[in-house]
């Protein structure tokens, strides 16, 4: 079916400025495949149902809008954590600033290196989960990513990784347009924690494909912010084997536009997936979108979506979350909650929670709320001498706590909690 003219024009204009990265072999084939999928589906427009609440035009534009480089004036987050640090500057791997890519229980290399070898496990993953994730809903920016990603990491956990892998994104150029694609494979019974932090570029398109084998465990903790002007579209595609565990948490602060999509598919029984996010948005220019799609296609899996957004001064928050339970996926336990705390009447939260269930023996629930600061709680704190602004911050942290509680590692969670408190205080 031919694309509508406007969509075809937008797609053509965007593609005009892109060239497929050099290389031959399976990488090239996967990229060409992704490009043909992208040209068939076209880039999204406001008329697409999946983009009804979020305007994709700044993501579609041939050039990124310039974004000032943000100076944080604070110690980078998780600096004290014992980790394998990998640095990308404007989406380019910085070998000199990164730790050596070596760790017990782990194989890690650059995507471009992996693609030079004819025989590589990455061949069976690159673009594969992304392709699966295009049904039933198209995700054009993920296809664009697979076609044009210029860099990324290829990580395979073969045992219990002794330290987390921490990707630190640095933003150096006001007009950087980064497209990164990471592959993660967690083998049977292996364990890996992946951390991501830092402003990546003026415009950032990230895709991650995560394949967790039977009994494997993957923890993902990410912070986005505090750069004000970035635009980011990220996708995580996860495929989960029997008795595997996938836990992902994202903290987003600031940013003009952030769209985080998570696509999780259970293919083995008794697996667990928790996907959570906390967002603090301030200002009319802020738009934050969490779009989640969880597919239960196995027995007795547990999925949990917990998303909380604090919005003020005209900020917009979006949540689109779906739980799809396929026929035969009995004993599914699905939960989804999305909540916003609106600190004023100018801010808005748009939520589209969905359940689609084709099995008859499941427990699924979902809820979505929007509310202001609880007056009784505020009075209680003030009556103890806590000034109104500080009391509001405490109640904001209190509101976000349920999402932060999804972080498995208490030390990582605590550092985020402290940082959040500091950032809120700075805004007063």
């Amino acid at each position: 079916m031919a694309l509508p003219q406007a969509k075809a024009d937008t797609t053509e204009a965007r593609l005009a400025g892109l060239t497929l990265p050099e290389g031959a072999g399976w990488g090239r084939a996967a990229r060409e495949d992704a490009l043909s999928r992208l040209t068939a589906m076209g880039l999204p427009g406001r008329r697409d149902e999946y983009w009804r609440f979020t305007d994709p035009s700044s993501l579609n534009a041939p050039e990124p809008a310039p974004a000032a480089v943000f100076e944080a004036h604070e110690a980078p987050i998780w600096d004290g954590v014992d980790r394998l640090k990998v640095i990308f500057v404007d989406g380019v791997f910085d070998a000199a600033a990164s730790d050596p890519l070596e760790m017990t229980g782990l194989e890690i290399e650059r995507l471009s290196d992996a693609m030079t070898r004819d025989i590589h496990w990455a061949k069976d993953l690159y673009g594969k989960l992304e392709t699966r994730g295009q049904t039933p809903v198209e995700r054009p920016f993920a296809a664009l990513n697979t076609a044009f990603a210029t860099d990324g990491l290829v990580i395979r956990a073969t045992g219990r990784a002794e330290r987390p892998v921490a990707i630190v994104y640095l933003h150096g150029s006001e007009t950087s347009d980064a497209i990164l694609h990471h592959l993660v494979k967690v083998e049977e019974g292996a364990e890996l924690t992946l951390l991501e932090t830092g402003p990546a570029a003026a415009r950032f398109n990230e895709a991650m494909e995560v394949d967790v084998a039977d009994g494997g465990t993957f923890h993902h903790v990410r912070t986005q912010g505090r750069d004000h002007e970035r635009r980011a579209a990220t996708h995580a595609f996860a495929r989960l084997g029997t008795e595997s565990v996938y836990k992902s948490f994202t903290l987003t602060v600031n940013g003009r536009l952030t769209r985080n999509e998570q696509v999780v598919e259970f293919t083995g029984d008794d697996a667990v997936a928790h996907v959570a996010g906390a967002c603090v948005g301030d200002g009319r220019d802020l738009h934050h979108d969490d779009t989640v799609f969880v597919t239960h296609d196995a027995l007795a899996c547990e999925s949990r979506q917990v998303f909380k957004k604090v919005l003020r001064n005209g900020a917009t928050g979006v949540f689109q979350g779906k739980i799809l339970v396929k026929q035969g996926a009995q004993k599914t336990d699905g939960y989804q909650i999305s909540q916003s705390l609106l600190l004023d009447e100018d801010s808005q939260f748009l939520a589209k929670p969905e359940l689609e269930i084709y099995a008859d023996d499941v427990a699924c629930s979902h809820g979505s709320t929007s509310g202001a600061i609880d007056r009784d709680s505020l009075f209680y704190l003030r009556s103890r001498g806590v000034p109104e602004a500080e009391a509001t911050d405490l109640l904001t942290l209190s509101f976000l706590a349920e999402a932060l509680a999804e972080i498995e590692d208490a030390a990582l969670a605590e550092e985020l909690q402290i940082r959040l408190g500091e950032w809120l205080a700075r805004r007063r």
Binding site: F379, R384, G385, L395
Partner: protein, 251 residues
Amino acid sequence: MLDIKGLKVKLEEEDKQILKGVDLAVGAGEVHAIMGPNGSGKSTLSYVLSGRDGYEVTEGSALLEGADILDMDPEERAAAGLFLAFQYPVEIPGVGNMTFLRTALNSQRKARGEDEVSSADFLKLIRAKAKDLKIDAEMLKRPVNVGFSGGEKKRNEILQMAILEPKLCILDETDSGLDVDAMKLVSDGVNALRSEGRSFVVITHYQRLLNHITPDVVHIMSDGRIVKSGGPELALEVEENGYADILAEVA
């Protein structure tokens, strides 16, 4: 200590007068009990004094050590030495009890121009006070009042009082929902805080709390006014005969 004159209060959102001219003078070190039937305005008085919104003072004044508190924000009143022990303490998930207490104490100290208490000193202070109230380390770590029983919540209120060392404590039906043992613990906590420089206003329906916390003066409140005042024997009279007799007598 506390000097209330001709206090008249209506609800902000509807034209309903709740307090119709309250006069009350509480001297330093004194314990005053306010009793009265449901709807007489006892809790409203405690809210108006502590600065909860939703009420409008139409007439009268309330001075704490000579300072007009009615124009102050709730946090300013707290820093000035006022403390309300809530009838229904609020649960605040995600905020640790310790963090809350330390934030409250240091906020008040900051407002008064005093140095903040260090983490180490605070820890020492809270451990000592918590022990007296049989509040264990686990309860201190938990989020504020979340999952606390009724008795634990009230003990937590008294712990806050002990840490913040206010000049005037208002106890709003602190005895509600307490069993005999919890009432004893809470009363002992309050009695330990009694001193020459600290006054109490104890609001209660029942005389039984006053067996544990002996008041200097007992007031009977009805229909937005204090209609009768007397010694502790007045509370016993209420216990024996109910409010009807007293109210008939003053009508």
